[in-house]
């Protein structure tokens, strides 16, 4: 079949011509909706947050807006508790990320070593289940099981161990949040690391074994470097998602007691919808946006996507 020429096309009917236009510009039709949505969700919110953060009262009419400079930012960092919530957020992100990476990797390595393939897939399927629990359901579980009076966990600690159970939600709320998130999302690290470990060729493992290197050295010097792209991407995505944490804390402690678990996202929510100060809320939001994107880009620049794409 020969390709249609210009003259062929002119003689075609209307629908055929539409079809030609569709086919000729196919890649553009294919990406256009995605680009449109992406522009809407990446540029618009940041720009609008920035606008709201420098005006006194929210208004869509730029000419009516009363610009107040950086005063909302000043309020955010003096009375707004912005700095405190950043410290809390970074604490949660760093600790949960460390715990989930180490636990996820260890479990993946242990399951990889299981000899029976049936048991292997049993563990693999079982260990991903906590991911099915929505943050708000996790908060429910935490409230039910950790409750000082009716919770089964304090009960078991008090009766079966010589220790007295701490009041999880009032004495150690931050640790409780971190541990609950670890329970919830270690599966994410586990399943990606497991896949990464299965892609390490046996010959590489054997070779390192012959050297007589101790186990941890084999992992640190041979296996982990081999699966570096996998480790990088899993950590990056989990980190990004940890900065999005909201539901579990909102449902479990609502940021409290006091401001003990007040993540940035909780702080912004309260400034916006409880204190009714959109200026302060969006000022913190702008700082948070810049902060998260900067950290993610530093990580990407430092480690890079080498090996992720060939």
């Amino acid at each position: 079949m020969s390709t249609p020429t210009q003259t062929d096309r002119k003689q075609r009917t209307g629908t055929a011509r539409v079809r030609d236009v569709f086919n000729d510009y196919l890649p553009y039709w294919f990406v256009a909706p995605m680009v449109l949505v992406m522009v809407m969700i990446t540029f618009f919110p940041g720009a609008y947050d920035l606008y709201l953060s420098v005006i006194a009262e929210p208004t869509l009419n730029v000419f009516e807006a009363e610009f107040v400079g950086l005063s909302n930012y000043q309020t955010a960092f003096t009375r707004g508790g912005a700095l405190h919530s950043f410290v809390i957020t970074v604490t949660v992100v760093v600790s949960a990320l460390a715990l989930e990476s180490v636990l996820g990797f260890s479990l993946a390595a242990l399951v990889t070593g299981v000899e029976s393939s049936r048991l292997k897939s049993f563990y693999r399927v079982l260990f991903i289940i906590p991911m099915a629990v929505a943050p708000v359901s996790l908060a429910t579980i935490g409230r039910i099981m950790l409750n000082t009076e009716i919770g089964v966990v304090p009960y078991l600690i008090n009766t079966a161990t010589p220790f007295a159970a701490p009041a999880f939600l009032s004495e150690i709320p931050l640790l409780t949040v971190i541990l609950l998130d670890t329970w919830n999302w270690t599966p994410f690290m586990f399943i990606i690391f497991y896949a990464g470990l299965s892609s390490v060729p046996d010959t590489l493992v054997e070779a390192s074994r012959v050297d007589g290197a101790p186990l941890w050295r084999r992992y640190v010097h041979v296996i982990i470097p081999y699966m570096k792209p996998v480790v990088f991407v899993a950590t990056l995505i989990r980190m990004i998602d940890l900065f999005r944490t909201f539901g579990v804390v909102y449902g479990l402690t609502n940021g409290g007691p006091g401001t003990a678990t007040q993540l940035v996202s909780i702080n912004i929510y309260e400034q916006m919808f409880i204190n009714n100060s959109p200026g302060v809320a969006t000022a913190i939001a702008v700082v948070y946006l810049v902060f998260v994107i900067a950290i993610a880009n530093i990580v990407i620049a430092k480690v890079g996507f080498e090996g992720v794409w060939d």
């Binding site: 629990v133 429910t140 794409w309």
Partner: protein, 291 residues
């Protein structure tokens, strides 16, 4: 038996064997320990949902009890719960269809054509995931009220699309990269247009990717609380917000709460198990493909 490092035959070998047995025992002890950690909270939640309300919180716990579906019947008769659950199914389901329609063709183009600054484009797409939802939701809260999208299912569908689009594009690009271009070329030689080649040759070959990314998108939207909290009030309330409002109520009905949470978790567990082989590919944004 796993390979051993020393020559067989000596008394050392016996030591090696005992050592390996010990390692195996320790391995399974740790794995079983973690299994208990994984299962106990879920068991507790499910068992609580099957206890009559008066028995739900008795301590010491009633390990043996007569299960009842009383709480689930109560739940099924609760109009708000049924509406919220149906809302979630419809809104999340529609968002998955829409995000696939937008994301899959775009991923195909990113995979097959020379895009200028392709890496930067991909990082830009990923950056939509870096934006904390709370920073995104405030502008949309203002705009949705202007556009009459506040408390509508359509508005929620759009928000759910926004959280999953980057995932779909990345994962599907990786899957398309793994499908040899010769497949489409063969179809085009047979007279198919590029669009037909995409629909009839490439898409079927990418089915596992589409399947896994659809389910993972479903899960990420299904568990989302913040958008429902800010952008809905009555008509478009998702099931997560219903569960939250349950927690917030003064006298918590624990067994009902447990039943509502269990009802939310069970379908997702089924999905996760169904897709478990491709889960790593999907969750790692397509970086890990094979398993």
């Amino acid at each position: 038996m796993a390979t051993s490092d020393v020559e067989p035959g000596s008394s050392q070998r016996l030591d090696k064997d005992t050592q390996e047995t010990l390692v195996t025992v320790a391995r399974h002890a740790v794995l079983l320990g973690w299994s208990v950690v994984v299962l106990f909270p879920l068991y507790w939640l499910a068992s609580m949902s099957l206890k009559p309300p008066g028995q739900a919180n008795s301590l010491p716990p009633d390990w043996v009890f007569l299960p009842t579906v009383y709480n689930y019947i109560q739940l099924a008769q609760n109009g708000e719960f049924v509406a919220a659950f149906a809302n979630s199914v419809v809104m999340v389901g529609a968002s998955v269809v829409l995000v696939l329609l937008i994301g899959v063709p775009a991923a195909y183009v990113l995979s097959r054509y020379d895009i200028p600054m392709e890496r930067d484009v991909l990082v830009w797409i990923l950056s939509s995931r870096m934006l904390p939802p709370i920073a995104v939701v405030i502008p949309f809260f203002v705009i949705f009220q202007q556009l009459n999208l506040f408390d509508t299912r359509i508005g929620m569908v759009l928000m759910y699309v926004s959280i999953n689009l980057s995932l779909v594009v990345w994962v599907m690009k990786a899957f398309f990269d793994g499908i040899p271009e010769t497949l489409e070329e063969a179809a085009r030689v047979d007279g198919a247009t590029q669009f037909q080649g995409f629909m009839k040759v490439v898409l079927p070959a990418a089915k596992p990717g589409i399947f896994s990314v659809a389910i993972i998108s479903f899960i990420f939207a299904w568990i989302e609380l913040l958008f429902g909290l800010v952008l809905t009030s009555f008509n478009a309330v998702p099931v997560t917000l219903f569960v939250y409002s349950f927690i917030g109520s003064r006298s918590i009905e624990w067994s009902m709460l447990a039943a509502a949470s269990t009802a939310m978790i069970v379908p997702v567990v089924v999905f996760l198990i169904a897709v478990n082989k491709y889960l790593a590919a999907g969750l790692s944004f397509g970086v890990v493909i094979k398993e």
